[in-house]
Amino acid sequence: MLRAEIRTRLGAVGLDLTFEVGPGECLALAGPSGAGKTSVLRVAAGLVRPRWGRVEANGDTWLDTERGIDVPPERRRCGYVFQEYALFPHLSAWQNVAYPLRGMRRAERRRRALELLERFGMRELADARPRTLSGGERQRVALARVLARRPAALLLDEPLSALDARTRAEASRELAAVLREVRVPALLVTHDFAEAAQLGDRVGVIDAGRVVQEGTPSELAAEPRSAFVADFTGAVVLTGTARPGREDLTEVELDGGGAVASTDPGSGPVAVSVYPWEIAIEPAGEPAHGSTRNRLPAEVLSVTTVGNRVRVSLAGAQPIVAEITLDSAERLGLRPGVRVLATWKATATRVVGN
C-alpha cells in the first residue's frame, strides 16, 4: 500500500492531491506536461521535500512534515524508473543491475544481477554498456535494476515515451507483466492517456497539480466530467449552449454555428465530447438516414493513415477529428479540400462541464 497526501508549491506548480495505491495495483497519473506529474514521483521518492505532505508505504512513514519525519531517498526502498532510464553510462548492464546490491561478494552480486537480466531476456547483453543498447533494452536493464533493490513501491516516469512506436507495444506488454508479477503498489505518470489506459488499473487525470477525475480507463472515457478530461482522453470536444430539445434529447447550439443532439441532460454553456471512432464521414449533400442525428458540414484538412485506420482532420465551425477505415476513406476519395459531412449518433455524444 502506497498512500500520499501532498500540498505544496514546487517551482511553477502547486500540488494538491491525495492518492492510495494497493499492492499489485497500478495507478496512472496522466496529464499534460507541466501538470506536476514528475514532482509527485520526486516527492514520493524523497528527492524533493514538499512544504506539507505525508507519504506512507507498507505501513512505514516515509514523510510526515507535521511530525518532522523525512526518510532520505536511499532508505525509502522505492524503485524509481526514470524517464530516460538514467542508466550509469560508465557501468555495464550487469554492473548497473548490481548497483543496489550491497554487502555481498562481487561474484554473488554478479550472479544475482545475471539472474535478473535473464528474467528480461537480457543475459547475453550483460557486459554491454548502456549507450550500445536500444531503448527497449535499456528499459529492461532499468527495470531489472530497480527490482534488484526489492522495492516496496514502484515509481515510473513516462516509461514508454523514450521508445519508438514499434518497440512501445512490446515494452508495454512486458511492463504490464512485471507490474502484475512484483505485487507492489506502482505509481506511473504519463502525458499519454493511451499509455495510462494500457498500464493503469486506475487512471487519475491530473491538471495543474490536482487530480481532476479518477477512475478506470473506461469510466473516464465513458463519462468524462470535464472538457479537459474529455479532451485528454482523446475525444473531440465542441463547445456550445444546451437546451432541452425534441424526443427527450438535449439540443446543443454550437459556438460558430451548427447544432448537435445528445442523450445526456444539460443546459446553459457546455462542452460536448465524442470519440473520433464514433464519427462517420459521408459525402456532402447526402440525405439524412437512420439514427445518426448529428450531421455537421466540414472540409477535409488532412488525411493520415495509422495502420489500418485513417485519421481525418476536419475544419467545420469547430475542429473535428474522425477515425474511419482505410476502405471508407478510399471509397469517399478523401483528400484535403473535399467537402463532407461528419455524422454521429446522439447516444455517442457526451455533455460535460465546460
Partner: protein
C-alpha cells in the same frame, strides 16, 4: 579550392612553427650526449625535485579541488560568480605577480608570516615553498575543468543512485566522479603541465637552491648561458614527460569516449 589550399597552408605554418623548436632540442645533440649531460649531479637533482613537488602539488589540488569544484558545479549560492572569479584569478596572473603575492601573504614579513613562523612552518627557500607556488598557479587549471565536467553530468544519475540505496557521498564517488572522469583527467593533466613548467613564482617565492628549491625549469635557466648541452638535456626530459602525459590523457579520453557518455 583556393579556400582549401589556404586552410592547408595555415595548418602547415602552425605545425612547423609549433614543432620546430621542440624537434630542435633533439636534433642539436645525439641521445648519447643528452644522457651524458644528465649524469651531472645538479641536473638529476632538479628533475627529481620537479617530479616530487609537482606530484605533491597535484595531489593537494585533486584532494581539495575535486570537492570544491563539485560544490561550485552543483549548488547555487549568493556570490557564486565572485567566488568562481577569485578561484580562476591565478590563471591570468603573471607568474612574477604570483611570486610577489605569495611573499606578501606567506613570506617571513607577509600578512600571516608571524602565524606561520610561530607554528614552525617555513616556506621561503624550502621545498614546501615550491609546492605552495606550484599549487597556487596550477590549481585553477584543474578546478575550471572539473567544474565544467561536474556540471555536464546528468543530475538524474545522482538521483538514480540515491533511490537505489546509495548516500549522496557514495553516489559522488561511484557515479559522479566516473562520469566526469574525462574532464577530471584533462584538468589534472593541464595542472600537472602548468606545475611542471612553473618558473617565475617559484623563483621569487622559494628561490633557486640546488636540491632544495631548484626545479628543472630553474636549472635550465641557470645552465643555458654556461652549459647549453645540459640545458638541452633537461629540456629533452621535460618534453618527454609532457608528451607522455598528453598521450596518456588522449588514451584515457579515447577509451572513455568509447564506453562513456550516453548516446
Amino acid at each position: 579550392m583556393i579556400f582549401r589550399i589556404a586552410l592547408g597552408a595555415a595548418l602547415a605554418v602552425a605545425l612547423v612553427f609549433l614543432t620546430l623548436p621542440v624537434v630542435a632540442i633533439f636534433v642539436d645533440s645525439t641521445p648519447g650526449e643528452l644522457i651524458d649531460s644528465l649524469g651531472e649531479p645538479g641536473a638529476l637533482d632538479a628533475l627529481w625535485l620537479s617530479l616530487r613537488t609537482t606530484a605533491t602539488a597535484l595531489a593537494i589540488i585533486l584532494v581539495v579541488g575535486t570537492p570544491a569544484a563539485y560544490l561550485l558545479a552543483t549548488r547555487s549560492f549568493r556570490g557564486k560568480a565572485a567566488v568562481v572569479t577569485l578561484v580562476e584569478l591565478p590563471l591570468v596572473l603573471p607568474p612574477a605577480v604570483a611570486g610577489v603575492a605569495l611573499l606578501a601573504a606567506l613570506g617571513p614579513h607577509g600578512i600571516v608570516g608571524d602565524e606561520l613562523d610561530s607554528a614552525g612552518v617555513e616556506l621561503t627557500f624550502q621545498t614546501a615553498g615550491v609546492v605552495v607556488a606550484l599549487t597556487f598557479v596550477a590549481s585553477p587549471f584543474y578546478i575550471r575543468q572539473a567544474v565544467a565536467g561536474f556540471a555536464s553530468v546528468d543530475r538524474t544519475l545522482l538521483d538514480a543512485s540515491r533511490t537505489l540505496g546509495s548516500s549522496e557521498a557514495r553516489g559522488f564517488l561511484r557515479v559522479v566522479i566516473p562520469s566526469a572522469m574525462p574532464s577530471l583527467v584533462a584538468g589534472a593533466a593541464l595542472a600537472f603541465g602548468r606545475a611542471l613548467g612553473e618558473f617565475g613564482a617559484t623563483l621569487m617565492f622559494a628561490g633557486s637552491l640546488q636540491g632544495v628549491t631548484q626545479t628543472a625549469p630553474l636549472a635550465i635557466y641557470e645552465r643555458f648561458n654556461v652549459e647549453f648541452e645540459d640545458a638541452l638535456a633537461l629540456s629533452a626530459v621535460l618534453v618527454a614527460v609532457s608528451a607522455a602525459i598528453l598521450l596518456s590523457v588522449k588514451l584515457v579520453q579515447g577509451s572513455e569516449a568509447l564506453g562513456g557518455a550516453p548516446r
